[in-house]
């Protein structure tokens, strides 16, 4: 794994009025890793993602994503960074290809090139047979996979996934996790996913960060955290045990 940082945050803070959503976040994400961003609902995970994308301005602190400052230069960041929001929406009266083509055009990809890329990404997410249907008729799992296909259109270096498996059935969840895993291994895309479904994160993430009430309370490989929090002697730890320990302390 390379050690170059693809995201660097220093003292990143976001306040909404008096409420602190993200407090003094320091974080480095290395190129090529799968990073799990954990925390209860309302811990500031989505706000952090939005700041990384330049969709929300930080109150203070510095952040660099793929070498650009997303506040000053959101354009370059968005060109190379894919974002799948929680419960992503589509234009329901268009079919999958039309949706993807719209996104491709917004990314200034010529139609000749995008046609191939659309087929390729639909194949990756296993939706090639469903392209004739309107997206409005898709199941939740299909929509979520279409969201991944949409992100892949711009051939990103880094993908932000906000709760990618929430609301999916077990089969859908497994397909999604396998898909994320293969993107990381086969296309060497850095993946930053936020979630509170711990067993899933444990399956695919190289490192995790735990955020509680705006503070990043822990960061590191799961094994490191287990050694630190639970003692080395324990062989079969789960991320849940570690997480609950941090959660109770906070």
């Amino acid at each position: 794994m390379e050690n170059q940082a693809i995201i660097e945050a220093e003292g990143l803070t976001k306040k909404y009025g008096h409420q602190i959503a993200v407090n003094n976040l320091n974080l480095q994400i290395r190129e090529g890793e799968v990073f799990g961003f954990l925390g209860p609902n309302g811990a500031g995970k989505t706000t952090t993602l939005l700041m990384f994308l330049g969709l929300t301005e930080p109150t203070s602190g510095k952040v660099r994503v793929i070498g650009f400052d997303p506040t000053r230069d959101p354009f370059h960041v968005k060109e190379k960074v894919g974002y799948l929001p929680e419960n992503v929406g589509f234009y329901d009266d268009m079919d999958a290809r039309q949706n993807l083509q719209f996104i491709a055009r917004l990314n200034r990809i010529p139609d000749k090139i995008s046609a191939g890329r659309i087929d390729e990404s639909l194949k990756v997410v296993d939706l090639l047979e469903e392209t004739k249907k309107k997206v409005g008729t898709y199941s939740k799992g299909m929509r979520q996979r279409l969201g991944i296909a949409e992100v892949l259109i711009k051939e990103p270096e880094l993908i932000f996934l906000d709760e990618p498996t929430i609301g999916l059935d077990p089969d859908g969840t497994n397909r999604m996790l396998d898909l994320i895993h293969s993107l990381s291994r086969e296309k060497n895309i850095t993946i930053f996913l936020s979630s509170h479904l711990l067993d899933q994160v444990q399956r695919i993430c190289d490192r995790v960060g735990i955020m509680i009430k705006g503070d990043l309370v822990a960061i590191g490989a799961i094994q490191e955290l287990a050694e630190k929090k639970l003692g080395i002697d324990k062989e079969h730890y789960t991320l849940e045990e570690i997480y609950m320990k941090y959660f109770k302390e906070a």
């Binding site: 989505t46 939005l50 354009f75 929001p85 992503v88 996104i103 055009r105 917004l106 990314n107």
Partner: protein, 318 residues
């Protein structure tokens, strides 16, 4: 930006809403035009046709109302219908945050949405004016002269700007309110306020400032003047009054002023009675210039506010 513009146009063209609006306008327009056209045909039979007869098609009220009045009253609804859910629909369907995470500038979203709707308005209006003109040529057998065509062009531009003002209002509400129903109702409320209550309010204000008692036989002319002045000033706050005054003047060359008789000075009345000829286009334009400028200014102001609010708004996923 062109991509969004194109998609918005496609959306409009394929929406039932657009079909309904254009069907309604075309239907009403054709009915008015044929009624007025037949009326003119009857009246002008066997006599020399007056100049600018062609423009009567648009300004003559016939039995109901004229086409110009119809657009003045109904035009705002077109603007509101096209814009009231343009931004918050994307918010509700959760496509806005996705859209904004693409490499586009944020303002191109709002610009494209606004321009696409303006283009639709222009297409509908130009279409209906052409249809009415065609009908009119057949019915009254008069071909418009170049000045009449120019006057119609000015009328069209004014109408597009006027409807764009309402479009701006409704897009503004769609940025401010999260729910499409709220923004639709808010836009309608503004429309009702300007179309009915400003007119009523103008009368009330005028009565309060310069009351004219009904019982007295000798009313002080200064009070009458003041009454009329106040009423006019207040009613000019409504873009509808601005639009109606401007368009009836531009389409009717015999109208030499937008003021009522009470408000004219003695010299103005004298000159009006002396010179019966229609005004040249340039003079009509000079009369309505302040109106046109006000309509342009309010449209731009409205879009400007809308733009600012949208650019500063937080984009939360939920």
């Amino acid at each position: 930006m062109f991509t969004i513009f194109r998609k918005e146009m496609e959306d409009h063209f394929s929406s039932i809403r657009f079909l309904l609006i254009s069907a309604l306008i075309i239907m009403v327009g054709v009915i008015i035009a044929s009624m007025v056209g037949m009326g003119i045909q009857e009246e002008s039979r066997g006599m020399a046709k007056p100049t600018f007869l062609f423009l009567w098609l648009f300004t003559s009220t016939g039995k109901l109302f004229s086409f110009v009045q119809f657009i003045g009253f109904f035009g705002p609804l077109i603007g509101i219908f096209l814009g009231f859910d343009s931004v918050n629909r994307e918010r509700v369907s959760r496509t806005l945050s996705k859209l904004l995470s693409q490499p586009i500038y944020r303002d191109s979203v709002i610009n494209a949405k606004f321009l696409a709707s303006v283009a639709i308005i222009a297409i509908v209006l130009v279409g209906i004016v052409l249809i009415i003109s065609g009908l009119g040529i057949r019915l009254i057998g008069v071909v418009p002269g170049s000045e009449e065509v120019l006057r119609l062009v000015v009328y069209l531009i004014t109408s597009i700007l006027y409807i764009s003002f309402w479009l701006g209002i409704s897009i503004l509400f769609s940025v401010v309110f999260r729910s499409t129903a709220t923004s639709a109702l808010a836009s309608l409320a503004v429309w009702i306020f300007f179309s009915f209550f400003v007119g009523l309010g103008a009368g009330v204000m005028a009565d309060a400032v310069a009351p004219i008692s009904q019982s007295e036989t000798n009313v002080d002319p200064n009070v009458v003047l003041k009454h009329a002045e106040v009423q006019k000033t207040v009613s000019l706050f409504s873009p509808m009054t601005l639009y109606n005054d401007a368009t009836t003047t531009i389409l009717d060359p015999t109208r030499k002023t937008t003021r009522s008789l009470v408000l004219m000075g003695p010299m103005e009345r004298l000159s009006l009675s002396r010179f019966q000829n229609p005004l040249p286009l340039l003079q009509s334009l000079i009369i309505i210039a302040p109106y046109l400028i006000s309509i342009v200014a309010t449209s731009f102001l409205c879009f400007g506010v809308c733009y600012l609010v949208f650019m500063r708004q937080e984009i939360r996923a939920v």
